[in-house]
Symmetry: C2
Subunit: 425 residues, 2 copies
């Protein structure tokens, strides 16, 4: 039985208890959230891992790090290093988006090494395997796709991005309007080209029930992909995006009806003034299903620093109700990220998630900020390092200065406001 | 005559024309904003520099970079390097916060080298000079202070942070409540200790008119310092902060009445959910005077990455109406920033400012985002680099990958969604 089926039966599973303990909540709250669909616990029933987490309403904002090889760069050790770096810095989930000849091997290693939930995008493997036998993704049959989904589920993948919302209707919306940048989702581009070539409805929509049957058998959480997400702020919240979102709402209900846990994916490139409405719309249409946003990036012009554009959008999105933030690294739009980029991306997302949780009044976040402020007041540097979201970087930054063992920092030195006030007040 | 006095007389000054040209606005709009006080043009009448900018309503969000030596680290060449790096990356203003024996020499060099407006905090010099003769800032007389202000005005400083809002009333508010972290403003801490020691009202409030007379004589813009700004999210929007803000509103009117241009400084550490109310409150109390925020930082726990916490708060603040963002560097709370830190801080603030201007519908920002999106669609990498807020970093990131002369990037390679869609649609 899936977590959802257990929750609907009134059973509090061990996973729900783990989630509740981590959040400091009553297990019954978690069970009822899973039953309502407002909480998902992405964990394949064939897999065990220590850091089982819930994603959704009333829980801490979670973050995901995308790793994986590309045809240009394949190094299994480096991907494992990225996995551990991401988890060390606080990633709650990792998606393996590998492409290239070693993708199966890399995925298996990541699943075996990961203490956190693992997600994939099965159509990448299907596309790569077809390509390896000189066939294009437009020649994909539903059996090719279902075989990949089944194999990955069998291997223990916990959540999968499935682009069943990229339909003829969404394509019609895309074509009947003029986007600056058509489709930037790899999965979305595969299905758009499939439909254009074959002149019929996407098999991922046509055979959605068959996909769900496999996911239900392994309790794989479906992450409903947003293949029509805007890749430019000029295209945000347009007809193609919202047509797909309406379909994702239908697909959410159909997945729930089959006992499958659901996460809904969202944009993308979204200007600051549209973040709130994007979150509210998804929450309303999808009946409170957890929302997993890719950034969002609040400008197109931050290449080299897209982790910052993503942190701005992510903080705001999470404050308005997004549950799960997909990180963006400084390498976005430019190259496959390095290990260092992964760390920068995870920390930026953690800052966004923490800032949102603080603004929502979540106790853990308020306590951490207060503990930091007290350590600052006491000029307790070790205490400050403990409260930092990345203590290694903070320590290294301080130690690179001329401060030695002094109790202030080289910014103000003896003119430290805190030190003066501690003496005066 | 100050810009304000000219504007009130109906004169459109050459500086107003420069500002209008940069913004793509009618000079009359700028004149009327300067007359109303909603726009300031910080430029000392004794100084000439090319990049004269306006700060305020209807104009692009501006950013400031703080540089300057500390007693631990004094290197004039490094400070000049920071100045040029900050301006190169898009800083509209630079504040020299130098402390240490070479502070006068460093300031003169910065003023002479800078193509942008230069700000200072005169009480730092007063405090350092007293300290050099073994006297504490609590022994400061108003003449000590006025002498510094006069000297710096004579040297050409364009705007000065003056902490006249740190009064006995604000101190009473501070003491009658319990803050986690009392005062984190250097200037604030000097004046609090002065009032505690001398048991009477701050001379910067008592002799405010005398200060204004000097500023008016040189058209130095007053930047009303927020010595009571919260240094912890737990202390945000409290009685001490708002008591000072009410005084700053009074001081704004008094400065305007003497023909002095005004900018009002604001927090600080502010959780995401309080940013909007902080901006609205300042705009209402201070009759639309330009608002200059220090970050704000949306969490206390981001040391090592405070430029990101500041970009989140800054983007939101600017969207809600803040006009001028003071950058925060990754070194904040840890050490004096390096040149590299200055660059990271400026770019993070530029992203925040740009994202806010985009969300406010400003044409320049929309055009830049659209140009970037078109370059992406065309796989025009040189075009993309031109649109980046930091082309150097973006180019370097891409070139560090295995991509060579290929037209995609190493993230997706041949599976590039944009390339596929360009072929299909």
């Amino acid at each position: 039985m899936t977590q959802r089926q257990q929750a609907l039966n009134g059973t509090v599973s061990p996973e729900m208890i783990t989630v509740a303990q981590y959040e400091g909540l009553d297990p019954e709250y978690v069970r009822s959230g899973v039953a309502e669909g407002t909480i998902a616990i992405p964990k394949n029933s064939k897999r065990s891992f220590p850091d089982v987490r819930g994603i959704g309403k009333g829980l801490r904002t979670k973050i995901n790090a995308n790793i994986g090889s590309s045809p240009y760069h394949m190094d299994i050790r480096e991907e494992i290093e990225k996995l551990h770096a991401a988890v060390h810095c606080g990633a709650d989930a990792v998606m393996d988006l590998s492409l290239g000849s070693e993708l199966i091997y890399i995925r298996r290693e990541i699943i075996s090494e990961s203490p956190v939930t693992i997600g994939t995008v099965p159509i990448y493997q299907t596309a790569f395997e077809l390509s390896s036998s000189c066939r294009d993704i437009t020649e994909m049959t539903i059996d090719d796709y279902l075989k990949t989904v089944r194999n990955q589920a069998e291997e223990g993948v916990d959540f999968m991005t499935i682009h069943s919302g990229v339909t003829l209707q969404a394509l019609a919306a895309l074509e009947s309007q003029k986007r600056v940048l058509d489709v930037v989702s790899r999965g979305g581009s595969f299905l758009v080209s499939w439909m254009k070539k074959n002149g019929r409805q996407s098999p991922l929509y046509e055979y959605y029930d068959e996909i769900l049957d496999i996911l239900a058998a392994y309790d794989v959480t479906i992450s409903l992909g947003d293949g029509m997400r805007p890749g430019a702020t000029a295209d945000a919240t347009d007809r193609a995006q919202i047509t797909e979102l309406v379909t994702l709402a239908e697909l959410t209900q159909r997945a729930w009806d089959k006992g499958v846990q659901v996460i809904v994916e969202g944009p993308g490139h979204v200007p600051l003034n549209m973040v709130q409405e994007n979150i509210r719309l998804q929450k309303s249409l999808c009946k409170g299903a957890p929302f997993y946003v890719l950034g969002p990036l609040v400008t197109d012009c931050a290449a080299g620093y897209d982790h910052i554009a993503g942190a701005i959008g992510g903080a705001l999105a999470a404050y308005f109700g997004a549950d799960f933030l997909c990180y963006v690294t400084p390498a976005e739009h430019l190259r496959l990220p390095t290990v260092e980029n992964v760390i920068e991306g995870v920390v930026a997302s953690k800052i966004a998630a923490h800032a949102a949780d603080l603004a929502k009044g979540m106790k853990y976040a308020i306590e951490r900020d207060t503990e930091m402020a007290k350590a600052r007041k006491n000029l307790d540097w070790e205490g400050q390092m403990r409260c930092c979201l990345d203590p290694d970087k903070a320590r290294c930054t301080r130690e690179s200065s001329e401060i030695g063992k002094d109790d202030v920092c080289t910014m103000c030195g003896e003119f430290c406001a805190i030190k003066r006030l501690n003496e005066v007040l």
